[in-house]
């Protein structure tokens, strides 16, 4: 009984984690940039959902449709106008650049929305459902399904669409892609835009599950790190595997060591994975 509850929780939470991480993983894999704004994008997405629901009564399910294009444009412009200028610089520079951008966005959110925690509560509340004897809140379950759908959608985009194929080509071999006539800089912008759109949508879903505050952005970012490293970089299946593994470790850690040690455990796991298996569970070796 106890075990099923832990497993179901891990599965549900794992899909949400995958959704948090997938955009981050895409940007890291394709652009070789660690995007530190990712956490703040997610929070901004949550605020969007919150604002739409509070002021216009638009349900978060529809908010996704608004968030995706908005965040895509935001990400596209950011990459096209700023990040592309330093994209070939050393790690240190791109990393510090995204840190600077994150400071700006996060500060702006604190300035406009204040730092206190808000909660998006659906009225009437949706209650919970029993799955294999385990109790799962319905809104969380729907968020999970939506997260899975989003990840699946990205998979389809990368597989089926022309621009998706180009993104994969750039990820696998940038120089060869250039020779094949791919405009790398605009592919970078598209990939970054997609990453931002995924972050924004993830944020909308997170609004249903977690309290909203600019202060939570680093938590989301930390989860994205861990999921990427555990699962392996730049693949949809890797993000899912990493998400579920992280959720499982946190669940088991919370049960045996107490909730206060769960985060420590996940970061220790991150460092161990980096050293022992840097390619992650499903990643390919030798690809940075």
């Amino acid at each position: 009984m106890w075990l099923t509850q832990v497993l179901i929780n891990a599965l549900v939470l794992g899909c949400l984690y995958a959704c948090i991480a997938i955009g981050f993983s895409l940007v890291w894999g394709v652009l070789n940039v660690i995007n530190l704004i990712h956490g703040s994008f997610i929070v901004l997405g949550s605020y969007l959902a919150f604002g739409l629901y509070q002021t216009l009564g638009i349900s978060p399910w529809y908010a996704i449709i608004v968030a995706a294009p908005l965040f895509f444009v935001l990400g596209y412009l950011l990459q096209f106008l700023l990040l592309n200028r330093v994209i070939n610089a050393p790690v240190l520079v791109t990393l510090t650049m995204t840190f600077g951008l994150d400071l700006i966005l996060n500060n702006a959110m604190i300035y406009f929305f204040k730092a206190d925690y808000r909660k998006l509560t659906l009225s009437p509340p949706m209650g919970s459902v029993s799955l294999f004897h385990a109790v799962v809140p319905i809104d969380r379950l729907i968020a999970t399904v939506a997260a899975l759908a989003l990840t699946g959608l990205l998979y389809l985009v990368l597989r089926r669409l022309r621009v998706g194929r180009a993104i994969v080509a750039v990820r696998l071999d940038r120089d060869a892609a250039v020779l094949m006539g791919v405009d790398v800089k605009s592919i970078y912008a598209v990939a970054f835009g997609l990453g931002a759109a995924l972050a924004g949508c993830a944020g909308v879903l997170m609004a249903l599950v977690y309290p909203i505050s600019p202060l939570t952005s680093s938590t989301f970012l930390g989860k994205a790190f861990v999921v990427c490293v555990l699962g392996g970089l730049g693949s949809v299946s890797g993000a899912l595997a990493g998400g579920v593994l992280l959720a499982l470790v946190e669940g088991v850690g919370t049960t045996f060591l107490g909730p206060e040690h769960a985060t420590t455990l996940s970061f220790v796991l991150l460092i161990v994975f980096l050293i022992v298996r840097p390619q992650g569970l499903l990643g390919r070796k030798g690809f940075e």
Partner: protein
């Protein structure tokens, strides 16, 4: 010794005269400026010389602050606690470095960033020892008046800065510094000429930690109260990088100049735009990286122009 290193030492000696000209407020600013310079110079050993993008500075700053805070609460004298945290952080970082510095590029950056998170969580959870999230009160070290205190902590921080600068200059002229430079330029070739890269990187990581840790200790004693979110703030990892980039990677005087300039800007922004100070810092970072990627030192035509290697 090169002229720029000599200039750095002269600059530091001049800084020691600050108490002659300013009151307690000026001393407070001077203390923080020294602290920033320590962080930046230390980071430069592993980030600038060896070319590894370390984000672990905050981990060692927090480590030193808590080691000192806890030991002071046990009744040890300040000098001994600083010495202890200096030595243990060197050894700890050396050991961690031997493992973590096998990673390169982003992976190393993330691992070093995670180190901050792990230490912070550990301190957060060791409530009995550290007070956890409630923070740790630290007994007054001297308590003989505001001005005397300000003077004491300024000179303590300045002394550590001087020690850092002398060490960093000595390293840059030594076999160690030469080897770290080899590692930055071509790690494969370094091994092939007989350089024990693991050992060198470990020492570099240790050096980048011990002075930071000592500075963290002085800071803790100075402010009397620390909590994990304060001393393990990731900004302590990022600011030294910004300072070093501002001044010019690798050059000690450039890095210290970058630290002072950065601190000046931060102070102005803090005082005038407290609500948006971190956003302004962000704008500053972005502008710096876009328009002055090789730092102030690159403005001097021809000299010290070094291209940062891809890491």
């Amino acid at each position: 010794m090169t002229r720029s290193n000599a200039a750095l030492l002269v600059l530091l000696v001049c800084l020691a005269a600050l108490p002659l000209f300013g009151g307690a407020y000026a001393l407070r600013l001077g203390t923080i400026a020294c602290m920033y310079a320590i962080l930046a110079l230390s980071w430069n050993v592993v980030g600038g010389l060896a070319g590894y993008p370390s984000f672990a500075t905050a981990a060692f700053f927090g480590f030193g602050a808590y080691a000192t805070g806890v030991l002071l609460n046990m009744g040890l004298p300040l000098s001994l606690t600083i010495l202890l945290s200096f030595v243990t952080s060197f050894l700890l970082a050396g050991l961690l470095g031997a493992v973590l510095l096998r990673l390169r590029g982003h992976y190393f950056a993330i691992a070093s960033l995670s180190l901050v998170e792990v230490l912070s969580e550990l301190v957060n959870n060791a409530t009995d020892l550290t007070g956890g999230g409630m923070g740790l009160n630290i007994p007054l070290a001297s308590g003989s008046g505001i001005m005397a205190d300000a003077m004491f902590f300024f000179y303590a921080m300045w002394g550590i800065l001087l020690a850092t600068a002398v060490t960093v200059i000595a390293v840059s002229m030594s076999k160690l510094g030469f080897g770290l430079s080899c590692i930055r330029q071509n790690e494969t070739a370094s091994g092939m000429v007989g350089l024990n890269a693991t050992l060198y990187k470990s020492i570099a990581f240790g050096l980048s930690a011990c002075f930071v840790s000592a500075a963290g200790g002085i800071y803790a004693a100075w402010v009397h109260y620390i909590d994990p979110s304060d001393v393990f703030d990731v900004l302590y990892s990022v600011k030294p990088i910004v300072m070093a980039l501002m001044g010019g990677l690798g050059s000690p005087i450039g890095v210290v100049a970058g630290a002072f300039l950065y601190f000046g800007l931060e102070e102005v922004v803090w005082r005038n735009y407290i609500q948006i100070h971190s956003g302004v810092l962000g704008v500053l970072i972005v502008l710096l990286l876009l328009f002055l990627p090789h730092g102030l030192i690159s403005l001097r035509p021809g000299m010290f122009r070094r291209k940062a290697k891809h890491v």
